[in-house]
């Protein structure tokens, strides 16, 4: 059951082969067994979880279940959930109990889904390894010496270790896709504005986007059906007509389902810096796509190399302002002793934030300062437009873009922790889509030395349905997405 698709789980519940309470308990049992080692969840509340499962069973019995009713999901701890401790991976919010629900949480609640718990993450979503979390690192279920990626590392490990049916994540520069690649599952970052950011704790407002993290494209499509939709509480939420993201999946079987599809391969994504083992897996996947009827064309995204510097001006600028509200005045960490107001601010923030968060607040404050604004922030905004234009040009020549998700497979814990720039390079292939506001996806495409490798799909604005179809077509002829780590006899899991 733990490896079943959402569709199968939904059918099992509908046919009363299993109750939601039983299904939920199965996952809770796995969490008890493996979470102490993996550290994917940082908040569990079994009473709340089981109450939801019970309510779902009643709903199923009453005959008004929706596709996700009764299925247990993990929620990234970036989403405020009423009555749940919501920390965003930070000591600053260690004792913050959210008094309201994020839009994403309400959407899952309304669909009758069960919340298994809140997952670990890099502090305020700033990181690519989950090592910046105040609540400790997360182990990659494929190899406990390795990181799961980040910032949605807890959700990633929970999905890979089958500690949930699926999970939510957020992606500001690659935080859904890079962990999906490193942990071997399917993750989707939607078009900016498709999923409401209301109640999602802000890192960089113009880049943050929530999305599904699941075993397959089909699962992601079912989750996106619940997550997407206009929300008047988020001014950047787009009033895009509601779509059924599963509508095209059935048409992806049979001979050459992708006939006529033009896949663009950006030459900049296959240049220096890409690990050879990863390159090989990605090339093999592209060969598979040709077999499915697609044709490939080389394209260029000439400003790719600028995306990291641009991102590390804009994201910290927004973050430095977004994180100003954590001042110890109304909620969150407040220093125990202080001499005056300024001292209270300084000590509370010095104690409440970790090193990476502080680094980004400092960078952001610097680039917005009088005398530097034009040279950094304004310049970066201009280049951001150029990067978006690159994609605009590219989509004149192709329907979808493919390449690696991350430059390497999962690296060792601690390996890049002291070298921020090496860490930042983890997102070299994912950041550009955030800057352009485009949807991006990572799907499992194979292994290199026993570690998963992800293939990245990038689509045009609102092209999620096509991306999911294209991913699904591949998952009909491959079984990489069904591979799961063997946690029965792991080293270190005694």
């Amino acid at each position: 059951m733990i490896n079943s698709s959402l569709k199968t789980l939904s059918q099992m519940l509908a046919k009363k082969e299993i109750s939601s309470v039983e299904m939920t308990q199965t996952f809770l049992n796995r969490i008890h067994q493996f979470n102490p080692t993996i550290n994917a969840y940082i908040a569990l509340d079994e009473a709340k979880t089981l109450a939801q499962a019970k309510a779902a069973d009643a709903r199923i019995a009453a005959g008004n279940a929706e596709p996700l009713t009764g299925i247990p999901f993990a929620q990234k701890d970036i989403f405020c959930a009423k009555g749940w401790r919501t920390t965003c991976g930070s000591k600053m919010l260690e004792n913050f109990i959210a008094p309201y629900d994020a839009h994403v949480i309400s959407q899952f609640d309304n669909a009758g889904a069960v919340n298994l718990g809140k997952t670990n993450m890099d502090e305020f979503a700033m990181g690519s390894s989950n090592e910046t979390s105040y609540f400790g690192g997360v182990k990659n279920p494929w190899n406990f010496d390795r990181v799961p990626g980040g910032s949605s590392g807890g959700s990633a490990a929970a999905v890979a270790a089958r500690l949930c049916a699926a999970a939510t994540g957020t992606d500001t520069g690659g935080s859904i896709r890079q962990p999906a690649s490193l942990c071997g599952f399917t993750g989707l970052k939607p078009t900016y504005g498709l999923v409401s950011r209301y109640g999602m704790i802000a890192f960089a407002s113009s880049l943050d986007q929530a999305g599904p993290m699941a075993k397959s494209a089909e699962d992601c499509a079912m989750m996106l059906n619940v997550m997407a939709g206009f929300d008047e509480r988020d001014s950047t939420s787009l009033n895009h007509p509601k779509e059924d993201y599963t509508r095209g999946l059935a048409g992806m079987s049979g001979d050459k389902p992708l006939k006529g599809l033009k896949i663009g391969l950006p030459k900049e994504y296959f240049a220096d810096g890409l690990d050879a083992g990863v390159a090989k897996v990605v090339q093999d996947a592209i060969v598979e796509y040709r077999k499915l009827g697609a044709e490939t064309v080389e394209i260029s995204l000439p400003n790719t190399k600028l995306s990291i510097p641009v991102y590390y001006v804009l994201a910290p600028a927004e973050a430095s302002s977004n994180l100003s509200r954590y001042d110890g005045v109304r909620y969150g960490h407040r220093a125990a002793e202080y001499t005056d107001l300024t001292d209270m601010y300084c000590k509370s923030r010095a104690e409440g934030f970790g090193a990476e968060v502080k680094r980004r607040i400092l960078i952001g404050t610097y680039v917005l300062s009088a005398g530097y604004y034009d040279a950094y922030y304004l310049k970066a905004q201009q280049i951001r437009h150029l990067i978006a234009d690159d994609f605009k040009q590219a989509f004149k020549e192709c329907d979808i873009i493919m390449g690696p998700t991350a430059p390497s497979t999962a690296f060792r814990a601690g390996e890049k922790a002291d070298d921020p720039v090496a860490m930042y390079l983890q997102d070299v292939y994912t950041i550009a889509t955030n800057l352009a506001g485009l949807p991006g996806m990572s799907i499992p495409a194979g292994f290199d030395k026993g570690l998963p490798v992800g293939l990245q799909l990038m689509g045009n604005y609102f092209d999620e349905a096509r991306m999911l179809d294209v991913a699904h077509a591949y998952q009909q002829v491959t079984d990489w997405h069904l591979q799961m780590p063997d946690l029965k006899a792991p080293e270190g899991l005694k």
């Binding site: 209301y198 109640g199 802000a202 008047e232 001014s235 302002s321 100003s324 509200r325 917005l368």
Partner: protein
């Protein structure tokens, strides 16, 4: 050396919306602390701002009222600084691209001493939308938190329109005239309740001095948060004197923000320019640029009341009022409405204007009441004027009726009846009475006949006295003239 003061104003106008500028929390004044602080007002993690359309309409109204350019696209920016009553650690404001651009208002500066009254155009630089901060409450008295400071976030997020002028004013009188004009205008177009005590209309005044005849502006100091016209006048006068004295004593003016202390009548430095924050303004990524279309403007324009200047011109043309009277009657919308209601209820315009500006205003001023709290309604005043017009009562008697209505009585005719003020217009009765007066005052008659015109007035007075003031004076005049001519 002769000095010239240069003044510019920044006015924070609290907009009359039901809810806050970026959330659904109420803006009502005076609630218990933090009872109007929703999750957005408190700036909980994850909350987002959504712009209140009503606030935008207020800004457009103001732009139209001062003939300003209204930006098709304006941008909200974050002004970053830490303060306990600023929950997000930044204020959402407009910086580079405000919603309202250049405009102008014409002010009437009243006569002072031997200086005659005059009009002057004050240019508006810009007006932008922003949110208010909360309030720090110091020295709490509740037991458990005695002596501590508290934060009340009820006001946090209240919509403000900050209206900035060019440094066009050259005296405290001009600055106050502008502030009063603006104060009337924002109430006229119904975007602000104008309550200065509750902080709905707050002025910051930038003051600098320079030798008369020179172009270059002196270093300015900004007087913060003046909440009455009287204090504004005092503060500017003090500040001007202080700056001139400082310069004449060989000192220099340093750019600073100062506070006015009404108790001492002095200004005191709050912070110098060196202590000023670097606000790190940048466009708020949570809000899209604000688009205002021609259709939006047309829609708001259609809902706008007639503006004071237009109404003044109409009063002159339609009612034959003098420019002065028309200007006075349109100095506030409530006053204009009262006047129009009086005329619409059947009164002639000219006497209605005289009564509204005369007895009614005098009583209101004496009791410090606004026109809409007048105990005498426009309808009652119109009835009163009708009785003067149809000769039922004299003007003098009307004043007694007016007093009675002011004191709470309602019906004009009942009061006339009760006080016996009805004018005698029966010429037979008046003739008989005059005959008696003439018979009783032969000396006066003789004087008149000897050519002393004054004696005539004395005889009129005697006749009026004899009628206990009730005789129609015009008739008395006429009949007396006839009789004396015989």
């Amino acid at each position: 050396m002769e000095w010239e003061v240069v003044i510019g104003l920044e006015t924070h106008t609290q907009l009359k919306t039901n809810t806050k500028i970026f959330s659904g929390a109420s803006t009502a004044f005076g609630a218990e602390p933090n009872t109007q602080a929703c999750e957005v007002s408190i700036a909980l993690p994850g909350v987002l701002p959504v712009l209140n359309k009503q606030a935008v309409e207020c800004a457009i109204k103001f732009g139209l009222a001062v003939n300003a350019e209204i930006a098709r696209r304006s941008v909200f920016a974050r002004k970053n600084y830490f303060y306990p009553d600023l929950p997000k650690g930044y204020q959402i404001s407009q910086y580079e691209l405000p919603v309202v651009g250049k405009g102008a208002v014409t002010i009437q500066v009243p006569a002072v001493g031997k200086n005659a009254a005059y009009e002057k155009v004050i240019n508006i630089t810009r007006a932008h939308l922003e949110e208010d901060a909360g309030k720090s409450v110091h020295g709490l008295s509740n037991q458990s938190i005695e002596g501590m400071s508290g934060i009340d976030l009820n006001r946090a997020g209240t919509p403000l329109l900050e209206i900035v002028t060019e440094p066009d004013m050259r005296s405290a009188a001009e600055a106050v005239a502008y502030a009063k004009k603006l104060h009337e205008l924002v109430q006229w177009i119904d975007i602000c309740d104008g309550n200065m005590q509750e902080g709905s209309f707050r002025c910051d005044v930038n003051v600098s001095v320079r030798p008369k005849g020179t172009e270059k502006l002196g270093t300015r100091r900004e007087i913060k948060n003046l909440n009455s016209f009287k204090f504004m006048q005092q503060a500017i006068e003090y500040e001007t004197r202080w700056q001139i004295e400082t310069l004449e004593d060989g000192g220099t003016i340093h750019q600073a923000t100062v506070l006015f202390n009404p108790d001492t009548g002095e200004t005191r430095v709050m912070r110098s320019k060196e202590e000023a924050n670097d606000y790190r303004y940048f466009p708020d990524p949570d809000l899209l640029p604000l688009e205002v279309t021609e259709a939006d403007k047309a829609r708001v324009k259609a809902e706008m009341p007639e503006l004071p200047e237009v109404m003044k011109a109409r009063f002159e043309a339609e009612y034959g009022l003098t420019s002065y009277d028309a200007s006075t009657l349109t100095s506030s919308r409530d006053l204009a409405d009262y006047f129009v209601a009086t005329v619409n209820a059947g009164a002639d315009a000219k006497p209605a204007a005289n009564w509204v500006m005369g007895s009614v205003s005098a009583k209101l001023n004496a009791e410090d009441k606004p026109i809409n709290a007048s105990p005498v309604t426009a309808l009652q005043l119109a009835q009163l004027l009708k009785r003067i017009n149809d000769n039922t009562i004299s003007n003098n008697a009307a004043k007694q009726v007016f007093e009675a209505m002011w004191a709470g009585e309602v019906d004009v005719d009942a009061i006339i009846e009760k006080l016996g003020l009805k004018q005698v217009s029966d010429s037979g009765a008046i003739e008989a009475m005059i005959d008696e007066v003439l018979a009783a005052n032969p000396a006066m008659v003789a004087e008149f006949k000897a050519g002393k015109e004054k004696a005539f007035n004395a005889l009129v007075g005697q006749a009026m006295k004899a009628s206990k003031g009730k005789a129609n004076p015009a008739q008395v005049n006429e009949i007396l003239k006839k009789k004396l001519a015989n």
